[in-house]
């Protein structure tokens, strides 16, 4: 018996030791999440789309189109060299800043009470710059830190990094999209932490964060109301607490195995943002506990493999990018799940790769592409990939020649 368990642990060990393990895990989990996401978007949006737009696949079709573009972009980014990827950093930051600034001008479009969209004419040019801002801060932040990797003991060298990234966060915050701003701030902080930020710096950031949060609450009483509604679940059952209540009901009615794909009741106009911020609740309703635990597990696996990629990376840039992407995916997905399960007040952030939203889907996929790129560039993985290619060729040759 111990022989067998020894063999099993050995199996696990060797599998984990495989140079392409993390690379394949990231691709596999992303693929599964994406597929699941597409199915859930179709399911969750079909009623609203059919009722208001007379085409139940309206949102699904769009999501698939964005997924295709995102996957193509991801593949491109994954296969790019480090030099090229680093080169994208600064332009990304500048473009992102400009686009966010544009939301405050005439090109800005308000949807659902939030003015965080830009549109240049026809409808398909409409997108959310804040999503791409996350990409920008990861890219540029990693690039900046990597540039200064030798002098980071000097706190002043952190200033540029913080100014650039937190500046973008500030712009997003000015759009009144506090949820996204919070996620972006978390990404910045986590990247800084893993990059080795000194305790003094972290302390200062912590104090500043508290100040900002208080400012946030003072500025918009709406946010305070959300917190109050969270603290008293029985209050305002048809107002602020309606969505959270319905989310919990959706999850609960899913039970262990779910109602069945497509059989959600809450998507019939009872749960707002069913195909968007609250899609996790619909997953819970349709696929049950199995579905929700699978989604959480997939994101956790993504985090695990992503961190391993970060630690195995031989370049500072790759490490910072990997950490940034992992931070982004995990923090945002776990925050979304925490909102849906009513562990924290409503934040208004989507579930990565699953929620409906062209901008966020594409940005997420590009981020995954960056992560896969980091994995590919890791020397052992790169070697293994190259070996596989040659092995395949050689095997083909062996097979062909008698």
């Amino acid at each position: 018996m111990s022989d067998q368990s020894e063999k099993d642990t050995a199996l696990w060990r060797t599998t984990l030791a495989h140079p392409l393990f993390d690379y394949r895990v990231v691709i596999a989990t992303s693929a599964v999440l994406l597929t699941l996401g597409l199915m859930m978007v179709i399911s969750a949006s079909s009623v609203t789309a059919a009722a208001q737009l007379h085409d139940p696949y309206y949102f699904g079709k769009r999501q698939i189109a964005f997924a295709v573009v995102g996957v193509l972009g991801a593949v491109f980014l994954a296969r790019s060299s480090e030099k090229f990827t680093r080169f994208l950093g600064l332009p990304a930051l500048v473009v992102a800043a400009v686009l966010i600034a544009l939301t405050l001008t005439g090109f800005g479009v308000e949807i659902g009470g939030n003015r965080n969209w830009v549109q240049f004419g026809p409808e398909f040019t409409r997108f959310q710059p804040s999503e791409f801002a996350k990409l920008a801060i990861v890219l540029w932040g990693a690039h900046d830190l990597a540039k200064r990797s030798k002098v980071l003991t000097d706190l002043r060298h952190w200033a540029m990094f913080l100014a650039g990234t937190l500046g973008l966060v500030g712009l997003v915050f000015a759009q009144k999209d506090a949820g996204t701003a919070l996620i972006m701030a978390a990404i910045v902080v986590i990247v800084a932490i893993v990059a080795g930020a000194p305790w003094r710096l972290l302390m200062a950031l912590f104090v500043a964060a508290i100040g900002v949060v208080l400012l946030m609450l003072k500025m918009a009483p709406f946010r305070l109301q959300r917190i109050l509604a969270y603290l008293d679940p029985l209050s305002d059952p048809y107002g602020m607490n309606l969505q959270p209540r319905r989310g919990i009901q959706a999850l609960a009615s899913g039970g262990w195995f779910g109602q069945g794909l497509g059989s959600s009741r809450q998507k019939w106009g009872l749960l707002a943002e069913a195909h968007n911020d609250y899609i996790f609740a619909i997953i819970g309703e349709e696929l049950g506990l199995i579905g929700t635990l699978t989604v959480i597990f997939l994101f956790a696996a993504l985090a695990f493999s992503g961190m391993r990629i970060a630690l195995k990376s031989t370049s500072h840039f790759s490490r910072h990018v990997a950490v940034g992407v992992v931070a982004w995916m995990t923090v945002q997905s776990f925050a979304n799940v925490a909102v849906a399960t009513r562990m924290i007040p409503v934040l208004g952030i989507p579930l990565p790769m699953i929620s409906y939203g062209g901008s966020s889907l594409m940005a997420n996929l590009f981020a995954i592409g960056l992560l896969v790129g980091c994995a590919r560039r890791e020397p052992q993985a790169a070697k293994a990939l190259a070996q596989q290619r040659t092995k395949a060729r050689r095997q083909a040759v062996i097979k062909v020649s008698p």
């Binding site: 050995a10 199996l11 060990r13 060797t14 599998t15 030791a17 495989h18 140079p19 392409l20 393990f21 394949r24 599964v32 597929t35 199915m39 179709i42 399911s43 079909s46 009623v47 059919a50 009722a51 139940p56 696949y57 069945g260 794909l261 497509g262 059989s263 195995k312 020397p379 052992q380 070697k383 293994a384 070996q387 092995k391 050689r394 095997q395 062996i398």
Partner: protein, 165 residues
């Protein structure tokens, strides 16, 4: 199975000589992925199928609701038009219309006995005062015309069709 060696992530593994039989690296393995992938694909296909079915059922639900609404509307229209029509058949309306046409009541009928074909009575000409109770050109409360009757029914004045508040 060859002996499994423990490998450290950091140490690059030695290149293994190409073996025609098995191409796997000695120090790390990757279990065959075909079975799980096939399984997952089947699952995905099944789920997509169910999703499409459910969506179709939803669509039909909407259609059904629309048709039911239409059916209700139509039956309500029918009832209202019927009521307007019934107003035209009242004896008051008939008496009024007949007298407007200059007709007078003739109580002396000529009877046809079936099946013999015998005729009783002789169809006497009337002077117009034989049945004064209805020949006196009755006036109706609002002297409506046929069009008024239908239009009345289509309008919203509750007084024309039942006066419950």
């Amino acid at each position: 199975m060859s002996a499994v060696e423990y490998a450290d992530v950091v140490v690059p593994h030695k290149p293994v000589p190409l073996r025609a039989i098995s191409g796997r690296a000695a120090s790390s393995r990757w279990p065959k992925a075909t079975f799980p992938i096939a399984l997952l694909s089947m699952l995905a296909v099944g789920m997509i199928g169910q999703l499409l079915l459910q969506t179709k059922i939803q669509e039909q639900g909407f259609e059904l609701a629309g048709l039911q609404n239409e059916a209700y509307e139509l039956s309500a229209q029918q009832a209202i038009l019927q009521a307007a029509l019934d107003k035209q058949f009242t004896p008051q309306q008939l008496a009024y219309s007949a007298s407007q046409l200059g007709m007078v009541a003739n109580p002396y009928s000529t009877l046809l006995v079936l099946p013999t074909g015998e005729i009783i009575g002789s169809g006497a000409k009337v002077r117009g005062n034989e049945v004064p109770i209805i020949s006196k050109a009755p006036t109706l409360p609002s002297n409506p015309t046929a069009d008024d009757g239908v239009r009345d029914a289509m309008q919203v004045n509750p007084q024309t069709l039942g006066g419950q508040p």
